[in-house]
Symmetry: C2
Subunit: 499 residues, 2 copies
């Protein structure tokens, strides 16, 4: 094989895979956004077949030969090519360990499972969803055993979402969080509660949509390449490459803050993806490197930016313009309201202080299931018990309980810890950023330019070129630590609650 030809073939192979990923992405996106409700079996059929095609291409003898040849000649490759070959070989080796039929059936199952979950959530009917979820957990475990029989299956999946993450890390990480967050919550509980009545009212959807478009501009998203849709559950996805990015939100007529923070959160994901250098498009290096770093960006914009005092101050006039009843409240009222700490049932609506406890509950539950210490049939009872134990709340129903998140329905097991990790990463990034960027000043002027530029330079533009750990080292020049995050929480809520 000739090296230069092989390098070209490497690019072509990735372009080909990107086209398939665009195809399956577009079918999924359609399913989540506008497809008629009775059509999911039709999508499952097509997605199963397309996943078979992708399986065949990525495990073909030709692909194996190409990647192994390039791997054997890696000293002649540039940094990007080396990382492409590394990531693709890793994916290929795992993929080949899963029998194709089982892989294809699993893709079909996930489409059905997600559709059934959505209906189950709407109808508060865990039982209809249970058989699907059982299969998803069982297959997840089986696939982990195929791919890494020497590893604990949950460790395998944690590492899939965040290179280097395992239970040992998570236990320590969550331990550190608990140690400082639980006392913080106790102190807050002793103080008078903040008043968030300004968030209630009637906020027509078309006005909330106008707010979404305004926020996309404030964030600096390029609307020529980033679309906005509404879905049951907000998410972000790239179609084909970072040149076509989509964020979604969900409007609640009685609560504008929910969609506001969805847009800012998903906007953070979209900034990260679309910030990849253009020459990464249609390669495996395009878009974010891991879910932990991804959530660091989404939670960064949602909280460190979006729930900060100067940001609230900046968007306040727009909010009053759209929702005139807000004019009876001050910027400070609003700032306090969106930062009210209150143990609750729903992760996505929870405050920054309690958020990580929601994640911990999911971490412990999925770990228990993968270790056969908990059965799916007992999952909703276990869920409710943990909410009582950690957050002191009685979950009123499964819709607001075990059915609230979509992740498990589409096989994302081992994903949740990324959210908590993202919070911690984000705070550590912010601390570093503040050494060179006057963040307060930027936010007061409503100019996110310098903030985005910092993130672009250190994080976004590299796409998946560097492992999370490498980003931390390059960016921070120091090891990961939970301290900046916990200090941030203590200072912020100390000030708000007068601790």
């Amino acid at each position: 094989m000739e090296l230069n030809k092989a390098r070209q073939d490497l690019i072509k192979l990735q372009q080909r895979m990107a086209a398939y990923s665009h195809a399956t992405g577009a079918i999924h996106y359609d399913g989540e956004t506008v497809a008629p409700k009775g059509t999911y079996q039709n999508r499952a059929q097509s997605l199963a077949i397309l996943s078979e095609e992708m399986y065949k291409i990525s495990t073909s003898a030709e692909t194996v030969e190409l990647l192994e040849f390039l791997d054997a000649n890696k000293e002649s490759l540039d940094e990007k090519e080396r990382r492409m070959v590394y990531l693709m070989l890793k994916g290929l080796r795992d993929m080949k360990k899963i029998p194709m039929d089982e892989y294809v059936e699993y893709r079909r199952l996930l489409v059905q499972s997600e559709a059934v979950w959505e209906k189950a959530k709407r109808n508060n009917d865990f039982e209809s969803y249970r058989p699907y979820l059982e299969k998803v957990f069982a297959t997840t475990k089986k696939f982990a055993e195929y791919c890494a029989p020497e590893k604990d299956p949950y460790d395998y999946w944690l590492n899939e979402y965040e290179e280097g993450m395992d239970m040992k890390f998570c236990d320590e990480f969550f331990g550190e969080l608990k140690e400082r967050i639980v006392p913080l919550l106790h102190k807050i509980a002793e103080k008078p509660q903040v008043d968030d009545s300004c968030l209630a009212g009637d906020f027509p959807e078309y006005k909330q949509e106008e707010l979404s478009l305004y926020l996309m501009d404030v964030l600096g998203l390029d609307k020529e390449h980033v679309g906005l849709s509404t879905t049951e559950h907000p998410f972000t996805t790239s179609l084909g490459s970072h040149l076509d990015e989509r964020i979604t939100t969900h409007y609640h007529r009685d609560n504008f803050a929910s969609s506001l923070y969805s847009v800012v959160h998903e906007g953070g994901h979209a900034l990260y993806d679309t910030g990849s250098e253009d020459d990464l498009a249609y390669t495996v290096l395009d878009g974010g490197v891991s879910m932990g770093i991804h959530e660091s960006q989404s939670r960064f914009y949602e909280n460190l930016i979006g729930r900060s005092k100067p940001f609230i101050k900046h968007i306040y006039p727009k909010l009053v313009e759209l929702f005139p009843t807000l004019s009876q409240y001050t910027e400070d009222d609003l700032y306090h309201a969106v930062n009210k700490v209150m143990p609750s049932f729903v992760r996505t609506e929870s405050d920054e202080a309690t958020y990580c406890l929601h994640v911990m509950i999911r971490y412990e539950l999925e770990k228990a299931i993968l270790h056969d210490e908990l059965e799916v049939k007992d999952l909703h009872a276990a869920w409710n018990a943990k909410y009582k134990e950690y957050l002191g709340v009685d979950v009123p129903n499964d819709t607001k309980g075990v059915l609230q998140d979509s992740h498990w329905s589409f096989g994302a097991i081992g994903y949740f810890p990324s959210y908590a990790l993202g919070n911690a990463y984000g705070a550590q990034f912010m601390k570093k950023m503040k050494e060179t960027v006057d963040v307060e000043e930027c936010l007061s002027k409503g100019d996110l330019g310098p903030i985005n530029e910092w993130n672009r330079e250190y994080i976004w533009k590299h796409g998946s070129l560097y492992e999370p750990k490498e980003i931390l080292e390059r960016v921070l020049g120091e090891p990961f630590s939970t301290d900046p995050y916990l200090t941030y929480l203590e200072e912020k809520f100390g000030e708000i609650y007068g601790l």
Copy 2:
């Protein structure tokens, strides 16, 4: 090769192609509905690659061997299998004559061309679109020459949209139409014009959307499997199979009738597609057989049903409920207004009597270009001249002139005559239907059941099993004739205009 295995492989091959068609369809549909405007190059990249994959599968040695084996054993196949093999072999033989690279480049061109056309139409800027349109016409001609060098290229394309159609047929067909429509228009022009002022006003989009959903119910469309979106230009498409059908419309705030008739027209297409027997799903027999028969159904529901007196009477209360200002007009006012005959610029907004003249203009122009008697650079002048000649109107700008239709931008050359043919088919079907179905009675009751059942039984359920000619023979037991259509026009407008 073993016959039963080959029969199974035939089904599998079609399922595989249907998945690809679902993929490209979803990417296109996304592009037409919600994709951000700056992303068409990204879609062009993925669609070009996917079209290459499809090309390879459908022309592979394995596919050729399979289809030729089945063709050689066709006496052992059932009727459906025989037709599948016939259609697939025909497609395969044509496809193999086009060099793959040219085929792939053409798919890429079409995505760009459609995006450029849309912008050009918006900006009334024919020149920006001209180079793309030139390439589309040139490639169309070249591909016809590859596939059927013995044929006139325009005859080749006419036959692609309607098996059996050629210029000889069209010349005769349009000749017959002209002979009776032109005198009819002259007679109408001598009579006092009907008053259509009831159609003007302010009709908010959300109310028009409610009307669309109501009309879908009246038509008998199953909303679990038929979705509704808004696009610049209304169309209908199936994603993967007839089990997931989409119609689109466009709302004009000052004119509710435009979207009303778009929904009824596209609804006719959707009824036809979704009426395929379920076992045709994921085969080449799924959905309508030809564009002529397809337009017969869309134009049937739009005009013979939707612009009839009893239908208007049936939907009148709903219209008044949604748009209270209409209550000052009678059902008869509305009936006359939606049937006002008035030469105009825009085909899709034109009345039944002048409609075929719009189609004839396109027929003559595309024929002239494919025969090198007209250059694309002179197309808009030629367009305007023909509108003056046939319809007596001065086209005010290219947006309402040569840029109005999307068809050429996505390579649909030879398609337009199907619309006129569909009108004629539809009237002939209606005449036949009335022998056994009391159509007036059904419409008065707002019950389209028996009408739909007749269409389902004779047309829809067969999908692409029978050629258009066979449908005519089976359904009508008589050869095609323009007389029922022309008689219908003369009687209807004779009554409305008191001729």
